[in-house]
Subunit: 368 residues, 2 copies
């Protein structure tokens, strides 16, 4: 718990050291060897101002617990993060050494079958509508929704999941007691009843930009796949999609008008070969389910009697006039098919109700 305050979320070196030496011994070491220029010196910087009791008290006030690897509700899926770290100067990524969790349902249970739905804060009505529908369908089909806590797509996804009587998980960038933005507090608190709120940083921490970016890895890691609904070209959701790709999660995108800047980032993403275009929950669930377990309905539009005809019969049908009836001979000429073959086909088309025969010959059946 102490370490979750001293160290920035996603510090790969800290994650490794805690695993190797335990957090207690590491904090002890920090107390003894202040200063220097190593990474330990960074971590020691917050020692004096960190009050473990205050942290625990803050967590207790909002009913949050600290979940660590090995705990029953620790989602094994998070361990996939051990192989991934962003190639940056301070090596971010890695398995968190613990997570602050609020919620009536265990985190592992929640994320057993889950889909991340992420996107722009500056979403359009279209994006929010689609995200909400998608989340509701996923929830209805027993898949939890994982997202951030922001306005726009995040909020629409959570609302949809709740509306679909599904579970929803919000991973926040700041402390679990500092829900951000304030306007979403009510919504996020409802998630604590029907799902989970998750934070890596210690209670009391502010949600900084850097923390949003490392937070994104948890959204990707906690889900089977990430769906980006709307994202401008520099949206943080694209960062979540990159984490998903690196974690071998399914990366999906919902297209929008090419004239909408809110979809421009999604379209860039969809131009990458690893991204799958999806248009509804059926296609999302097909993607994240075992092969063949949940095939999406193939979209094929309406079919008509005409579809069942072979090519020669279609040519005969094409040659039958709409109003003024024509003889079999004339229809054969129009169709460019031999007379002897056209006659039985006209009879068949008549039986199907597509053409009618009168004294003057054949014409199309009225569609009215």
């Amino acid at each position: 718990m102490m370490m979750s305050r001293l160290v920035e979320p996603g510090d790969v070196d800290a994650c490794h050291l805690v695993r190797e030496y335990s957090a207690l011994r590491l904090v002890d070491r920090l107390r003894k060897s202040r200063g220097g220029t190593s990474k330990l010196a960074d971590w020691a910087e917050r020692l004096d101002s960190t009050d473990l009791e205050a942290i625990v008290e803050r967590a207790a006030r909002v009913g949050a617990r600290y979940v660590c690897p090995g705990d029953a509700e620790w989602p094994d899926r998070l361990d996939d993060l051990s192989s991934v770290s962003e190639a940056t100067a301070d090596r971010r990524g890695g398995v968190p050494f613990g997570l602050w969790v609020r919620g009536a349902v265990g985190l592992a249970d929640c994320c057993n079958q889950s889909v991340a739905i992420v996107g722009a804060r500056a979403a359009t009505a279209y994006g929010e509508h689609v995200a909400g529908d998608l989340a509701a369908e996923c929830g209805h089909n027993g898949h939890a929704v994982v997202s951030g806590g922001a306005y726009g797509i995040d909020a629409a996804a959570h609302r949809g999941a709740l509306a679909g009587a599904g579970r929803s998980v919000a991973v926040v960038a700041g402390g679990i007691d500092r829900l951000y933005p304030a306007g979403n507090t009510r919504l996020l608190e409802r998630l604590a009843e029907a799902g989970c709120i998750v934070a890596e940083a210690a209670p009391g921490c502010t949600p900084t930009r850097s923390r949003f970016l490392v937070r994104n890895r948890l959204i990707a890691a906690l889900s089977l796949g990430v769906v980006v609904v709307e994202a401008a070209l520099r949206s943080g959701s694209l960062n979540t999609a990159r984490w998903a790709r690196d974690l071998n999660r399914h990366v999906m995108g919902i297209p929008g008008p090419v004239t909408s800047s809110a979809s421009a980032g999604v379209h860039e993403l969809l131009r990458q070969p690893e991204t799958v275009l999806v248009t509804d929950a059926g296609e999302v669930l097909e993607q994240v389910s075992p092969l063949g377990a949940r095939p999406a309905t193939v979209k094929c539009g309406t079919t008509s009697v005409r579809d069942g005809l072979d090519v020669r019969s279609r040519r005969v049908l094409d040659a039958v006039p709409v109003y003024d009836a024509a003889s079999t001979r004339s229809i054969a000429t129009t169709a460019g098919l031999q007379h002897s073959d056209v006659e039985p086909r006209l009879d068949e088309l008549c039986r199907s109700g597509l053409v009618v025969r009168d004294d003057a010959g054949w014409r199309l059946a009225s569609v009215l």
Copy 2:
């Protein structure tokens, strides 16, 4: 010319026989051996009603010429069709044995660099807008537009190409003297000045459904790639896209809202691995040009001074308060970075104009 009336467009067997024996000898043979049940009997069906002089006269009236393989204006690209025929009962596909052409510019010249832009007749304002823009940009960049002659996307593409002072080619399903639909006659006739109108069926033929489908292969074959702008699930444009795929042409799709049924077919297409999502002419031209010859501008949004910062400096910046200035020590604690490293970084951020220093310490520079 006679054969273009006797035989339905795209009859593979006819195409082969004409190539092998010449059309003259074939027509001769048909005259001698009527009846029977072979394919020859189909072709002979129209012999009596076919008046070659009338056909030639109809063509002359609209200033159309008959172009055959080997002619100077025959586009070599059409020969790719020899390897492709649709697996249907009457084997449609193949290289046409001739094409009726109207237009001031030679067909081969027109199609030297060309992009097909196809889509729904029942297009939305969005689709027509995008098709028009795309065609104008393609035209402006020296690429002819190839399409059908229908309302909706076809017409919008031709209008756009003309607006961009580009060339445009319309491949029609009926006879070259029977422009369809009548409402597009004016537009199509303008193409005869700035491009070409092309027909496979003989002058006088009506545009039947079957002819639309085989016509589609010519649109695909005459272009370097096919862009589908809007298409419902059963749109004929998807048939054009299949021809393009079989002909090893680039298959591209413009996405739209998933809530629009006019885009549902495009989205199905974009879920196929061979289809590339494109959002503008730059991406289309990149696709159809030799690798690296015309790279599309990478879309990356606006960049800021912040982007140039390394991760540690970003963390320092994140820790600087907006209003009430803070000391270096306090900022180091907030950032969780050692004091000795934070000081020079704050100086640097100050020089970049991102933070300011006053008596009380550091705060963010006003963005106003």
